[in-house]
């Protein structure tokens, strides 16, 4: 039994390896980024944010500090996604109703009333083998905008800002090089 199973595993592994190689070739040669998106467009819910949250209104117009909501950026690896209760701090019933999109605020209140988290679509994510400590970067005086772009001028966030360099390693390194920060592998990879 083990030998037969092993043989099959090898066959599967072999076919997989060839597929992956070809797949890499395909990605490399791909011209239009819309191709992959085209596949996903079948599920519109997967694309958009559950609530049309305007960063420009909050951070731009009302000058709310980023860390008012992303509350752990200066002391943790994670910047922190605001608890629904943070939204309700301003948007509780009868308070800030929202001039432009009252129906979006109603959604927030619904989530809160049901005791459910808001399932935000994640835009920024480094790979699992990368550790990005927000607090080190905040402590070094890096503005949030350096990586996340001019968020205070953006509406609903649906894609990464061009400043983020697609979060590729070369982009990290170029900044570390510029600022004389460590380029040792184990600063991020462990």
């Amino acid at each position: 039994m083990p030998t037969a199973l092993m043989k099959r595993l090898w066959l599967v592994a072999g076919a997989g390896a060839i597929s992956v190689l070809l797949g890499i070739a395909l990605i490399g040669g791909r011209q239009a980024p819309g191709e992959a998106d085209g596949v996903q467009a079948a599920d519109p819910l997967a694309q958009s944010q559950p609530i049309q949250f305007p960063h420009d209104t909050h951070a731009g117009q009302f000058l709310i500090d980023c860390q008012y909501c992303h509350y752990s950026a200066e002391r943790s690896v994670d910047a922190g996604i605001p608890p629904v209760e943070t939204c309700m701090g301003c948007h509780y019933e009868g308070r800030v109703e929202g001039r432009n999109n009252p129906e979006e605020i109603a959604k927030v209140r619904d989530f809160h009333a049901r005791g459910e988290p808001i399932p935000w679509r994640r835009i920024y994510k480094v790979s699992d083998h990368v550790h990005f400590p927000h607090m080190r970067h905040v402590a070094a005086g890096i503005e949030c905008q350096t990586c996340h772009g001019e968020v205070q001028e953006m509406g609903v966030l649906e894609e990464m800002a061009p400043e983020a360099g697609n979060l590729k390693m070369g982009w990290c390194i170029s900044c570390h090089l510029e600022r004389g920060a460590s380029r040792d592998c184990t600063v991020c990879h462990y």
Binding site: L9, A15, G16, I18, S19, V20, L21, L22, G23, I24, A25, L26, I27, A36, V39, Q40, A46, Q47, S72, E74, R75, S76, V77, D78, G80, I81, P82, P83, V84, E85, T86, F111, G115, E116, P117, I118, P119, W120, R121, R122, K125, S127, D128, H129, H131, P133, M135, R136, A139, N166, L177, G180, S182, R183, D184, C185, T186, V187, H189, Y190
Partner: protein, 1017 residues
């Protein structure tokens, strides 16, 4: 491409596969959701660990733990340095609590036995059923494990309210010791040993570094007493037929016959009395015993015993034991004999204290046997089993299964189904200690609290037994004064403060003290207990000269005695369902996953057996088939098998692994205490003709001439020859790679702090870097292997299962090497067994680095030998070139779910440390010096605008070591602890002098009382 398959079609097929790979392989195309809290818990910052102080619930010792949680999920358990008993250490079983919490075999809902096996029911229905049966189903029997003091009070009150009987059962039984203390001092208490204050320690078989009473505490005390300090070092003698791990730590071994410890202890006490010692009411009695008779009875030399007497006469001595090794048909007499010896040696009130305060609960086989008889007689309508597994852990001869099966309604509180719970009519999923409230009183005047470190794992609808009792009580109309056990416990704390605490000036606001207990794990006050300092005349007759303590005896007697001993990994079997512990090489035999029978190589030769031969070990009660492991540390007339393995129904990790030696025991007991006898004579060994390769990580038990673990004699300390001072510089000219190829000589003495050398500075590194290094004091290392399990827990190291481990693919980053120098069971004399925790040495001149074709193995500017997983392509050149064999390779997808071909089923992967990358197949990995902890400390220090403090970083292995073996820090800082230890005269680095690897791990040689051949390196 024949057979009509066109090349274009082939490419099309592959193209489709390729697109699929592109979509699944590129994670940025997938939609991931960020789920915020609705209301953020105050104590949780995302990405920052929250720690809780609590009490370990894995055995009755009650060690203090610190539980690390991330985003509300428990990820690590470490020792709590503030705890008055365990003092910062923990054992492998304690660390494995994580795998009890997240065990894939945990029961998800209450279960009711139906015609087709168990069916899931809701809690309401289950509680209704329980209340009905307890209220009107006849008399009830409660068989429980040992519980914390407050839970025990509740349980006893509950049992009284419903009119039942409670019997405590723990396979690691202390009833004979309690019975002996009760006879000698008139109090039901365990003695308190102040080992740290002793200069001479004798264990009559007690495995105090493994399972006996409080092994973590004992390991710390033993390190203090036996580790060299100020040019002095205590001496430890082990008396008994088999060297347990504890025995392997001894300086001298008196290989006495099984069951002869009573005669030896009484004879030595008699000798002391003759020399003026005082054994109070026993003076005349012990004078009747002579060393010569005892030596003859024990099969050892009289000189060895008179040497014992000489050392005892000098004072500062302590006799321990005999523990479970003395659990035979005269167990109480054996325990009493050792207490008498302590009294005669003047240890009472010096190194041995008896508190005049009853503590704990006796658990005896005798009580259980009487309950079994009552069950068989139909005296009980309901039997409740909680926290114990008698269907497995009792000898078959006890007849538990049939008797229990005959009870009309059987209830089990259990976290996973085991042999007993599987027989129940109603199974109630119990909460794990890490999810529960509780307490312990580890010493008079100390209150330690257990608090839940997380909400119950949501996959399992479990409830703590104590809460179920309170609710059932309400349904039956019994009021225990609280609705939840948390409130009940809080009330008990206030009462403890009022009765005990306040008396000692532990005054103040109870709420504040409670918060202190929650924050630090315990509150203590000065010890108030009245100490008993004299033996009292025996009130019960004790037969010291039982004609046959061993029992057994059958046709064709082979002259062999079978010793069944508790496993340091599984205890009495409770921990066998933890894959970490199954794959932890047994500290004595280094065998994983299966059982073995220990026999002396001479016995094996006499019987014509080789290592790995599968033999049938038979007694009148039954037989088991088990491979032979030849062990020079056991007498020729004894064979031994560990408890804890051979489960028939205990989840996917324990069932069918190894054999259960309880099947071989006749179930006879010590009359005075009811302790189960764990020895039996008349065992026969028959070869079956089959052989198996032992699943072991032991390469060799002999160092040959490599001097991996050298030692130095105590008398040679401080007299190191001149050249030894420069042992580090013994290698030839150090050369290093240069940028354009080839080597160039470097001007250095090779000190760790000289690295990295200028020539290796290819990147634009900041020169002002620390140099991380470790120092390990081998004189303190007991080989307990807690570090191995802690490393596995911290670093997401998978287990590989038996068949992969058998071919050497186990993934441990840290292993405990064990070398025999002097072990001889044929006569009394010195014993010298060396332990060496072997991990990546983080060589400054690392052989693994230059052979990596992709720079995955490389040196960091702060001196770590790093492995960049995402660079590694799996050539394995590095492992082949590593002289320490510390690099391990992911041959398969061990870390994945079994559905994906891996080993780690949901939710055991919930334990993964989010700060460490989970490696997949094809990747080489190894010890990182816990780089995630280094970076965390550096991040914290940078945010706070300071340097990392010395001692701020504790590696995982260090954070559980009970014996303070491991020191970690920046060796370039000359004031650091690690620099101080590395500068010790005992310091050496493994293989450095031979192959010039310049390791960052500094070992301090073991110190022996006897002369050793090679004190140098």
């Amino acid at each position: 491409m024949s057979g009509g398959f066109e090349r274009r079609d082939f490419l099309k097929v592959l193209g489709v596969g390729g697109a699929g790979a592109a979509l699944t392989g590129c994670s940025t195309d997938e939609v991931e959701r960020l789920m915020p809290y609705v209301t953020a818990p105050e104590e949780i910052t995302p990405g920052v660990a929250t720690w809780y102080a609590s009490t370990c619930g894995e055995c009755a010792s009650g060690c203090g733990v610190r539980v690390r949680t991330r985003e509300g999920r428990v990820v690590m358990v470490e020792g709590n340095p503030d705890h008055p008993v365990s003092g910062g250490g923990l054992c492998s079983r304690g660390v494995s609590a994580l795998q009890g919490l997240y065990n894939a075999d945990r029961i998800a809902t209450p279960l009711r036995a139906g015609a087709d096996g168990f069916e899931a029911i809701g809690w309401d229905e289950a509680l209704e059923l329980l209340a009905n049966r307890l209220g009107g189903g006849g008399r009830s029997l409660f068989l429980t494990g040992r519980k914390g003091p407050t839970e025990s009070v509740l349980l006893n009150d509950f049992v009284e309210a419903v009119g039942g009987r409670r019997v405590v059962h723990d396979g690691l039984d202390d009833s004979a010791l309690r019975a002996a203390v009760s006879i000698a001092f008139g109090v039901n208490a365990l003695p308190r040993y102040e080992m740290a204050g002793a200069r001479y320690l004798v264990s009559f078989g007690a495995d105090f570094l493994e399972t006996w009473l409080s092994p973590v505490r004992f390991a710390a005390d033993f390190a203090g007493m036996h580790g060299v300090g100020g040019g002095a070092k205590g001496r430890f003698v082990f008396v008994g037929p088999r060297l347990s791990l504890t025995g392997q730590n001894a300086d001298e071994w008196i290989p006495a016959r099984p069951g002869s410890e009573t005669a030896i202890a009484l004879a030595v006490a008699g000798e002391l009395v003759r020399r003026g010692g005082d054994a109070g009411p026993y003076n005349d009695f012990v004078s009747g015993y002579s060393l010569e008779d005892a030596a003859a009875a024990a099969g050892v030399e009289t000189e060895a015993l008179s040497s014992l007497a000489d050392h005892f006469a000098e004072g500062g001595a302590l006799a321990l034991g005999p523990g479970l090794a003395g659990n035979h048909r005269a167990a109480t007499a054996a325990n009493l004999a050792v207490l008498i010896l302590n009294a005669a040696a003047g240890s009472l009130g010096d190194t041995l204290h008896i508190d005049d305060a009853p503590d704990g609960e006796a658990s005896s086989y005798g009580n259980l046997a009487s309950a079994v008889a009552q069950m068989r007689a139909g005296s009980f309508g309901v039997a409740v089993v909680a926290g114990t597994n008698p269907a497995y852990s009792l000898p078959a001869a006890a007849g538990f299964g049939d008797a229990f099966g005959a009870v009309p309604f059987k209830v089990a509180f259990a976290t996973t189904l085991d042999e007993t719970a599987s027989m129940a009519d109603l199974v109630l999923p119990d909460a794990h200690p890490l999810e529960s409230w509780g307490d312990s009183r580890p010493a008079p005047g100390t209150y330690a609290v257990r608090q839940p470190a997380m909400r119950p794992v949501p996959l399992f609808d479990s409830r703590p037994m104590a809460d179920v009792l309170l609710e059932t009580g309400q349904r039956l109309g019994h009021d225990f004064g609280a609705a939840t056990f948390r409130d009940y416990l809080r009330g008990a704390f206030d009462r403890w403060l009022a009765e005990d605490g306040m008396r000692a000036g532990l005054a103040g606001d109870p709420n504040r003290l409670w918060r202190t207990a929650l924050r630090t794990g315990s509150v203590s006050h000065v010890d108030l207990s009245d100490k008993i300092t004299a033996l009292q005349p025996p009130v019960t007759a004790v037969d010291f000269d039982a004609p046959d303590v061993v029992g057994g005896g059958m046709e064709g007697d082979s002259g062999l005695t079978l010793l069944v001993y508790p496993s340091s990994r599984f205890g009495d079997g409770t921990h066998a369902n933890r894959p970490w512990l199954q794959e932890l090489p047994d500290p004595v035999s280094k065998v994983m996953w299966h059982s073995w029978v220990e026999m002396n190589p001479a016995t094996a030769e006499r019987l014509g057996l080789r290592q790995g031969d599968i033999v049938s070990v038979a007694t009148a009660e039954g037989s088991v088939d088990v491979p032979v492991w030849a062990y020079p540390g056991i007498r020729e007339d004894a064979v031994a098998i560990a408890m804890g393995a051979g489960h028939t129904d205990y989840g996917q990790f324990a069932t069918g692994k190894g054999v259960n030696p309880m099947a071989l025991l006749p179930g006879d007991m010590d009359g005075a205490s009811g302790a189960l006898s764990l020895l039996t004579a008349g065992v026969t060994i028959t070869a079956t003709g089959a052989w198996q390769r032992l699943v072991t990580n032991e390469g060799s038990s002999d160092q040959d001439d490599r001097n991996v673990a050298p030692a130095i004699a105590l008398s040679a300390l401080g007299h190191a020859p001149e050249e030894e001072e420069h042992a580090q510089g013994e290698h030839g000219q150090l050369r290093e790679l240069q940028e354009m190829g080839g080597f160039r000589p470097v001007d250095t003495e090779g000190r760790a702090e000289d690295f990295p050398l200028p020539g290796s500075d290819f990147g634009q590194y900041d020169r002002d870097q620390p140099r991380w290094a470790m120092a390990m004091d081998l004189d303190k290392c007991t080989g307990c292997s807690a570090c191995v399990t802690a490393c596995q827990a911290e670093n997401n190291i998978p287990w590989v299962h038996e068949h992969q481990a058998a071919i050497g693919r186990e993934m441990h980053w840290l292993r405990l090497e064990r070398y025999y120098e002097t072990v001889d069971a044929s006569h009394s004399g010195p014993v010298d067994i060396r332990f060496l925790p072997m991990l990546c040495q983080h060589c400054n001149n690392a052989p693994c680095e230059p052979v990596c074709p992709v720079f995955a193995a490389y040196h960091t500017p702060d001196g770590l030998n790093a492995q960049a997983y995402n660079r590694c392509v799996g050539t394995r050149y590095c492992a082949n070139n590593c002289p320490y064999k510390v690099r391990v390779f992911n041959w398969y997808r061990y870390t994945q779910d079994p559905a994906d071909g891996g080993n780690i089923p949901e939710p055991m992967n919930w334990q993964f440390n989010p700060d460490v990358t989970v490696r997949n197949n094809g990747v080489m990995e190894k010890c990182t010096f816990c780089v995630q902890r280094i970076r965390e400390a550096q991040n914290r220090a940078a945010v706070e605008g300071r340097e990392v403090r010395d001692g701020e970083i504790h590696t995982a292995c260090q954070s559980v070591c009970p014996a303070d073996v491991i020191t970690f820090g920046n060796i370039r800082d000359h004031d650091s602890q690690v620099a101080a230890r590395a500068g010790d005269e005992r310091t050496y680095r493994v293989l450095d002098a031979l192959i010039n690897t310049q390791p960052a791990v500094h070992y301090l040689k073991k110190v022996t009382h006897h002369d050793v051949e090679d004190a140098g390196h």
